[in-house]
């Protein structure tokens, strides 16, 4: 339980708030690159600020304020030219730095355009994801962190995102809270699937049974990149699994899971105080010498959350079960009324870490995970356990049950097929390498 004032400090992200200032030290994902390629212009909302992302006729990306400086028309209604993004109303054009470069209705020789700018922020692409940095102009822009999952080669990547109508922190508090998985993704998921008539041999049911296995112990503590998490599931040995090599919560808002060659690297990006974009880069690494064909682009899909009547649409997926829990905590969870138990040790540690980093920023220092050294940033390694206690789809004889690794993802069918083919092949090869990872 925390006071209302503490809750505000931890949750609010608008311009000028402590949380907003903290987030403005970090690069955050704003869109799949392929979506930008398809649309040319995308409206973006980040930390309560409305922006527009565009790719001009020369392929240069820009992230600028959402309105034309002239008569305040929304630029998402416009179109792009070689020079930049053009307002539909009078053709004023802004380049990727927000500088007005064309005012075609003004008299010849007018220099008024040189005096007109709209806000702009740097963007970069990595792993098919467009990232933005919303820090103030007078601060040196840090490096876009090259976390290992973003720079590995020989893997198959897919971007999944969802717009979740609640505050970012309750989404993120899910991560240092291992015990929820046993109930929400295990017990609850099984009963829900059963209520929908899903048979026991369905891969989603198998996944839920795996999650329902008992957690013997779970611990949390400080970590170089955020918050250390470890848990031991019944049947695990504590070697190369979630007890000895699980990935940390990466500060401030990244959730990392790994198991059986499937890696989720996901951000809970604050759109504003009451909306969060869950943005997940799913990386499939079949291993065993399987060569993954190069991807011409990283495909993406949107995970629906609720329909217009408020009904949850993806309760048969892990993400969808989480969405339900977070939304049902309220727009901004009222932490002045909660009752924390022993299982919430990680949640408390995370809040302490945020408070500490907020203090650092308010004292004028940079928070953790801000990188300026290119050598350090070549590839930032995080642990990758093979076994999460319920090694997806691998039978005791090492054979692979097709459909297992993508069971919870509701991927477009052709993508799921391509991924499953890779895992089937890997398992065939593994039959000669039993015991190896």
């Amino acid at each position: 339980m925390i006071t209302q004032a503490e809750n505000e400090r931890l949750t609010r992200v608008g311009p000028g708030t402590p949380g907003g200032e903290l987030f403005r030290h970090y690069w955050q994902p704003i869109a799949p690159k392929q979506k930008l390629v398809e649309h040319g212009i995308l409206p973006i909302r980040l930390y309560g600020e409305d922006l527009v992302l565009f790719s001009d006729g020369q392929g240069r990306m820009g992230l600028v304020g959402d309105r034309c400086a002239h008569r305040r028309v929304k630029l998402e209604c416009g179109y792009t030219t070689n020079a930049g993004i053009k307002c539909p109303y009078h053709g004023w054009t802004f380049d990727t730095t927000g500088q007005c470069v064309e005012q075609p209705g003004e008299p010849e020789g007018s220099t008024f355009k040189d005096k007109v700018q709209i806000p702009s922020y740097p963007v970069q692409e990595l792993a098919g994801v467009v990232f933005a940095y919303l820090g103030p102009k007078d601060r040196p822009v840090p490096l876009l962190p090259r976390w290992d999952r973003l720079v590995w080669d020989n893997c198959y990547r897919v971007i999944a995102y969802a717009i979740v109508p609640c505050n970012w922190l309750q989404c993120m508090e899910n991560t240092p809270d291992q015990m929820h998985t046993v109930n929400l993704h295990g017990e609850y998921a099984q009963q829900w699937l059963r209520s929908q008539g899903v048979p026991d041999d369905d891969s989603r049911m198998a996944l839920a049974r795996g999650f329902a296995r008992k957690v013997i112990k779970h611990e949390y503590g400080p970590h170089k990149y955020g918050l250390h998490r470890a848990w031991l599931i019944e049947g695990q040995t504590g070697k190369n699994d979630t007890w000895d090599s699980t990935a940390p919560l990466v500060f401030p808002n990244t959730h990392v899971t790994s198991g059986s060659g499937r890696h989720d690297f996901g951000w809970r990006v604050p759109i504003d105080d009451t909306h969060t974009m869950q943005f997940i880069l799913r990386t499939f690494q079949p291993g065993n010498g399987v060569v993954v064909p190069p991807q011409p682009f990283v495909p993406y899909y949107e995970m629906p959350v609720r329909d217009e009547h408020g009904k949850f649409l993806t309760l048969d997926t892990i993400n969808g079960q989480d969405f339900m829990a977070w939304c049902e905590q309220g727009e901004i969870m009222d932490r002045s009324k909660e009752r924390l138990g022993d299982s919430d040790r990680g949640v408390i540690a995370f809040r302490q870490l945020i408070a500490q980093q907020l203090d650092r920023v308010q004292a004028g220092h940079e928070p953790m995970n801000v990188f300026h050294d290119p050598v350090e940033n070549e590839k930032i390694e995080l642990p990758s356990p093979w076994d999460r206690g319920h090694a997806w789809g691998y039978d005791k004889d090492g054979s692979y049950m097709r459909g297992a690794v993508t069971a919870s993802d509701r991927l477009p069918e052709h993508i799921a097929d391509e991924i499953e083919d890779l895992y089937v092949e890997a398992a065939k090869r593994a039959n000669h390498l039993v015991g190896a990872t």
């Binding site: 309105r67 400086a69 002239h70 008569r71 305040r72 028309v73 929304k74 998402e76 209604c77 416009g78 179109y79 053009k86 307002c87 539909p88 109303y89 009078h90 053709g91 005012q103 075609p104 209705g105 003004e106 008299p107 007018s110 008024f112 007109v116």
Partner: protein, 431 residues
């Protein structure tokens, strides 16, 4: 750029506001006559006031407050009788002047009804529209602008509900330069981007792309006179010489190629506007336009339930996108006005001038009280907007041109196009 205070003064129209008082000095169209023929009780909202327009069983039209004086039931749930508009709850009935004329549940001989009245406003009909006046009495004359009283014209009435403040819609008018970009360049690339190969639309967009060589504004007799010269136009026979006014306070008119639009951007409330237009198709004197009774009307959705713009293939749909995307009430403390905005600045100054007249108790501009002056108020009629729609050099007419920008029902398009084809054929015959 304005201060927040100036912006509020110019945009807000609720009862008692300065702009609300100015707007209430003018007759405004609240419905098409044809709507009342279909449905005798119509809810109407104007300047933030909820009203009911009705036609009683004797054909008398009234505009009254939206609630029964008795228990405040909404009168749009009621029905009409020979006596007036009847509340469904206890049968209280109101005449067109708002007087309660029946209270059937009251004791016989009761005179209570004589003490009960709901608000009412005068109404008049012209060009197929029902107009009302909500200002202080005596009411001025309903202005007989030429486009409303011409004969031998095929008229269509249109209604477009726009979810934003009226002023940003109206500021479109003293800003003709936007047409080159919004209806020209933007429209052309929109057609390309969406793979639409409609020839008439493309010609329309390319016509609008014609470059503005100059544009000028001055305070005129009826509002802001606007003049512009497009590349290829001659100075003596077009909008440069004839001008085309913004008719104060909220009327927009365009003419060209025999198509005349006369339309109001009427404040429903501070954040909603009803564009009401009378589009007159004028094929010329050689063709007899059949009598219209009633004048047909259309309601054109341009913003869908999700806020998407669903009429971008039409010129007005493009305007609506620009206006709505400026915000509920455009924040003029943040705009950056430029040389092209000279007309907008002049219009704001004129609004301020007229606001002060009303505050001083005077009649504002366009208040007509002399019937002799009001038989037919002549506004200029330029023929050529620089891209005379659909007329080839040999005088022949390309079918589909004059209605290319209008989302109209097919039967109306066919009737209008037939008239223009006939007119062109007659012109080609030797005199």
């Amino acid at each position: 750029m304005l201060t927040q205070e100036q912006n509020d003064r110019l945009t807000r129209v609720g009862p008692g506001t300065p702009m609300g008082n100015l707007m209430r000095r003018y007759w405004h169209p609240v419905a098409a006559k044809a709507q009342l023929d279909e449905q005798s009780v119509l809810p109407v909202r104007l300047f933030g006031e909820d009203l009911i327009l009705f036609k009683d069983q004797q054909g008398r039209i009234g505009l009254v407050g939206d609630r029964c004086a008795h228990r405040q039931v909404k009168l749009d749930c009621g029905y009409t009788t020979g006596a007036g508009l009847r509340c469904p709850y206890h049968g209280w009935t109101y005449a067109t002047d708002g007087r309660c004329v029946e209270q059937p549940g009251e004791p016989e001989g009761s005179i209570f009804r004589d003490k009960v009245k709901i608000p009412s406003y005068p109404v008049e009909e012209l060009a197929g529209l029902i107009f009302t006046y909500m200002g202080p009495l005596p009411a001025p004359l309903l202005p007989r602008w030429n486009r409303l009283v011409w004969d031998n014209v095929y008229r269509v009435i249109g209604f477009i509900e726009i979810p934003c403040n009226w002023l940003q819609c109206m500021e479109n008018t003293p800003d003709p330069v936007h047409t080159e970009y919004l209806h020209g360049h933007y429209f052309e690339q929109w057609l390309k981007r969406n793979g639409i190969e409609d020839k008439r639309s493309l010609e329309l967009a390319q016509g609008f792309k014609t470059h503005f060589l100059k544009h000028e504004y001055e305070i005129g007799k009826y509002g802001i006179d606007r003049r512009w010269l497009l590349e290829g136009m001659t100075q003596d026979k077009d909008i440069w010489s004839a001008s085309l006014p913004l008719v104060f306070p909220d009327i927009h008119c365009t003419s060209g190629g025999g198509r005349h639009t006369f339309g109001w951007r009427m404040p429903i409330d501070d954040t909603h506007t009803m564009e009401v237009f009378v589009r007159g198709f004028d094929p010329g004197p050689d063709v007899k336009v059949p009598e219209q009774n009633p004048v047909p009307y259309i309601k054109i959705p341009m913003v869908d339930e999700k806020g998407g713009f669903c009429a971008l293939q039409s010129v007005t749909g493009q305007d609506v996108m620009a206006w709505v995307s400026q915000g509920d009430i455009l924040d003029r403390t943040k705009e950056r006005l430029a040389d092209t905005d000279r007309g907008i600045i002049m219009y704001r100054q004129q609004l301020e001038t007229e606001l002060r007249k009303v505050e001083a108790g005077e009649d504002p501009i366009n208040t007509f009280r002399d019937p002799a002056e009001n038989t037919c108020i002549d506004l200029p009629v330029p023929w050529d907007r620089g891209y005379a729609w659909g007329f080839a050099k040999d005088g022949s007419y390309k079918r589909g041109s004059v209605t290319a920008a209008d989302p109209l029902p097919k039967y109306i398009v066919d009737e209008v196009e037939d008239l223009f084809v006939e007119a062109a054929a007659k012109r080609k015959q030797p005199a």
